[in-house]
């Protein structure tokens, strides 16, 4: 326990009020705001809105899969458009945007003790370009030919050919343009998050005192800045192939009996570029969830996170390793089979730091004082679904086991459990946890309990049995399974059951949205620190925090983020900015 004494060279913590600093009109305060907290809410609201579209699309898919032949309006073209847009929206426009643009913007400055992001104007632009990307994406629903139906992986050559919905219409072009815009917007935000964490931490906030939430978002952002450029060039090249007739990804092709002008390109090159982005993307979504859930568990179990330093190194290690595993998505792609040895080994090595994280979460519960609040329930549910989905990753990562399972419903079940359900449960937990800081009021507990139970159990009942349909050999991305002999009568019944569960889980999300709106006015008053948490965002002079976050003086940090239940201390938590020494705190350093 080292008390940090400000050195003489450090400028005074008090910041003079600057005339230009604060917004002057309603427009600059709420719309074209440069306050990271407002930008966070804008990001979150936009991501939620487009996420609702993805939710409706998933219902439409499940209607078709659960009750084939019943709904004539779901043609094969429409079905492939639904799956493509559902996947892309969920992965990029919802999860990435919400974790980094939403939680990153809100929490980074508050948690590191900064007044705002370091480049507020660029931060504002980031949101508006993101909004433009979402609008371009949404516009493809109204374009001639509709959105692209190439699958969210957009594999060429089919993505830009006539046999695929939107391939020779506007769909694929709008998708590629939207992705390019998204990446530009993200880069503007991402540079902000990274530089803010590195440069704008308050005094005493060493890197090894950062809450794991910040470590997760920070590492994910660094990864995204390195991974998205691969997707960017892939999109630009495919746009050229489609619009200008180049052949980056296009070999000699006969399309419906007609020789195309393309030649010499490599479809598999696109897959390498896509997954060089696509695999880190899994962790771009997972690492913020890892970080956030660590803080939820620690706060609500009133216990320090177990093995903090190991947790930090696991986050960094997973982030680094995730750049050398991409081709495990391509074991049966026709790449050279010897790659399989390398990528299976790296992929299974990643299981070790990931398992350490799981152990440390459950060991944080051990001998804790577990408050079963709604955020805690979601955190527990996250561990269950993440362990389940992570373990099925050991099937798919182990190259030869992947051969029969690849491209089946097993894969769909796996990635939904591990990067769909699990991170989204963390998002819910995080919203129940930080909503009181954002609005000053608690979310309604009864609605929260209903939302939790239906979402957790429903999602588990959707995706657990789905693995077994895949194990039977039932392929994914089939509009129609009635011609498929491995699909038994009883498996069709199981599909119908899964669909009904999907509608129920979707309904629970509407209750959640209602709760979000209802509680703004009717929720119980929260006070500044309703969970009695240690991190800086709970120590702001105002709730919700005003522009500038910390009033006149920035906080000084004296301890790590996990001083819960320190023996001998009066309270069971010691805020990070509390000076002095209490009990027998043993901060790892």
């Amino acid at each position: 326990m080292v008390d940090v004494t400000p050195a003489d060279a450090v400028p005074p913590a008090e910041v003079a009020e600057m005339e230009l600093y604060h917004p002057h009109s309603w427009w600059t305060k709420y719309v074209f705001s440069q306050d990271a907290k407002v930008i966070a809410i804008q990001y979150s609201a936009t991501a939620t809105a487009i996420g609702l579209v993805a939710l409706v699309l998933s219902w439409l898919m499940r209607l078709q899969l659960g009750f084939p032949g019943t709904f004539d309006f779901i043609s094969p073209e429409a079905y492939y458009q639904f799956i493509t847009m559902h996947g892309m929206i969920m992965v990029i426009y919802l999860l990435t945007a919400l974790f980094l643009g939403g939680f990153g913007n809100y929490l980074i400055p508050l948690m590191v003790g900064a007044r705002d992001m370091v480049f507020p104007y660029v931060n504002m632009l980031s949101y508006w370009i993101y909004l433009l990307a979402v609008l371009v994406l949404a516009s493809s629903f109204f374009a001639p030919g509709g959105p692209t139906g190439a699958g969210w992986t957009l594999y060429p050559p089919q993505a830009i050919m006539t046999g695929t919905p939107g391939g020779q219409d506007w769909g694929i072009i709008l998708m590629l343009v939207s992705l390019i815009l998204f990446i530009i917007g993200f880069t503007m935000g991402g540079l902000n998050y990274v530089v803010t964490v590195l440069q704008a931490r308050t005094r005493g906030m060493t890197l090894m005192r950062l809450p794991l939430t910040v470590w997760g978002i920070f590492t994910a952002t660094v990864m995204a800045l390195l991974a998205f450029p691969a997707l960017f060039v892939a999109c630009v090249m495919m746009l050229f192939d489609r619009a200008l007739g180049t052949s980056f990804f296009m070999p000699a092709i006969v399309q419906m009996g007609e020789q195309l002008q393309h030649g010499g390109g490599s479809p598999i090159l696109f897959q390498h570029l896509f997954w060089f982005f696509g695999h880190p993307e899994v962790y771009i979504v997972a690492l913020p969830a890892f970080g956030i859930v660590s803080d939820l568990i620690s706060t609500h179990a009133r216990k320090n996170i177990f093995g903090y330093r190991m947790m930090v190194w696991a986050i960094v290690g997973i982030g680094a390793l995730s750049f050398v595993v991409w081709a495990h998505h391509m074991y049966v792609s026709g790449m050279h089979p010897y790659f399989g040895f390398f990528f299976a080994t790296t992929t299974l090595i990643i299981a070790v730091p990931t398992a350490i994280k799981v152990y440390n979460w459950v060991l944080t519960l051990w001998r804790g004082d577990i408050h079963l609040t709604v955020p805690m329930l979601f955190a527990l549910a996250f561990i269950v679904t993440f362990v389940n989905g992570g373990l099925t990753g050991l099937f798919l990562g182990n190259v030869v086991v992947d051969v029969p399972l690849s491209d089946t419903m097993f894969v769909v079940a796996h990635f939904h459990m591990v990067m769909g359900v699990a991170p989204i449960l963390v998002i819910f937990g995080a919203i129940y946890h930080w909503y009181p800081k954002v609005t000053g009021r608690m979310l309604n507990e009864a609605m929260g309990q209903f939302h939790f139970w239906v979402t957790f159990l429903g999602a588990y009942l959707i995706f657990f049995p789905m693995h077994y349909i895949g194990l039977m050999g039932v392929p994914r991305r089939y509009h129609e399974l009635t011609n498929t002999t491995v699909m038994t009568e009883s498996a069709h019944d199981l599909n119908a059951f899964i669909s009904i569960m999907a509608f129920l889980v979707g309904f629970a999300q509407i209750v959640f949205l209602f709760n979000l709106i209802w509680s703004i006015r009717h929720g119980r008053e929260a006070g500044g620190n309703p969970w009695r948490a240690t991190t800086l965002e709970w120590q702001t002079p105002e709730t919700p925090p005003a522009h500038g976050n910390f009033g006149k003086e920035l906080p000084i940090v004296y301890r790590w983020a996990y001083d819960y239940s320190v023996p001998g201390a009066k309270e069971d938590f010691i805020p990070q900015n509390m000076p002095g020494s209490f009990g027998t705190s043993r901060e790892p350093a």
Partner: protein, 271 residues
């Protein structure tokens, strides 16, 4: 409290579902029961880990739930425990990876006596080509594809003249003989997949990919396309019939060669 009970139920329910539900893989009809065995090993290791972690959580939630006057323990780190867990995990992972890589080595090592069958995918049908008496497939190129030459066989290659061409019809294979499937596409990505054989591989226009297997059971098996290839993807079915050697030879005798198919038109019109 309810959550502790539910966590136990999740484990019990999942295990019961695994053992009692009717949904399991189709009976295998190839030599790749090694793959099935690796899956079983993986199921056991991962199943034990899943049950252990979730049951431990359930116990913690029950035992350490908040009650008036409780205080959590204060233990930031425990190096010994952390290292032990890391080592045990690494052993478990190795126990899955090593047999996996061993079987993968078999999967990518084609036996020298394997006969060659070419599969050609196009939207949305399967065609096949077998080497003729010379045992060699003639060269091919997507640029050669025309209505008269649907597989794009190189007409000037002598090796290709006796190749047996099966356009959009069933493939027959003799039981018990290893076969190397050479996979080719003339338009988009496809994937040749027969669930009973456990093997699959993408087909990429412009490349030739492959896998090998030995059919071990006679019968009729459905070929599925396992790579989204456009709106006709789910309809891209085919049939592989695994025959006894006699039945296979009888079938082979009825097939036409590339030379016969591309012979002057009057032969066909005279009949």
């Amino acid at each position: 409290m309810a959550i502790a009970l539910v966590l136990v139920l999740v484990v019990v329910g999942s295990v019961l579902f695994h053992f009692l539900s009717p949904w399991w893989w189709t009976p295998i009809a190839s030599n790749w029961d090694y793959i099935d065995n690796t899956i079983i090993i993986t199921f056991w290791i991962t199943g034990v880990v899943f049950a252990a972690v979730v049951l431990f959580m359930a116990y913690c939630v029950f035992r350490f739930r908040h009650r008036e006057g409780n205080q959590a323990a204060y233990e930031p780190e425990n190096k010994r425990l952390e290292w032990w867990l890391t080592i045990v995990t690494a052993i478990g992972v190795t126990a899955m990876l090593v047999p996996g890589l061993f079987v993968w080595n078999q999967f990518v090592s084609v036996p020298s006596d394997a006969t060659v069958v070419e599969v050609v995918g196009q939207q949305w049908q399967w065609s096949f080509r077998l080497p003729g008496k010379d045992g060699k497939l003639g060269t091919s190129d997507t640029r050669n594809v025309s209505p008269e030459n649907p597989l794009g066989v190189n007409a000037s290659d002598a090796n290709g003249q006796d190749d047996v061409v099966i356009e959009a019809a069933d493939l027959h294979l003799p039981v018990g003989k290893p076969v190397k499937m050479l996979l080719r596409s003339i338009d988009v990505l496809h994937d040749f997949y027969v669930p009973e054989f456990r093997a699959k591989m993408d087909m990429i226009p412009g490349s030739v990919t492959y896998f090998w297997f030995t059919p071990t059971k006679t019968g009729t098996f459905q070929v599925l396309c396992a790579e989204l290839c456009g709106q006709g993807h789910p309809l891209m079915n085919g049939v592989v019939m695994v025959d006894t050697p006699e039945d296979y030879l009888a079938w082979l005798g009825e097939q036409q060669t590339f030379a016969q198919l591309s012979a002057p038109q009057q032969v066909g019109s005279a009949e």
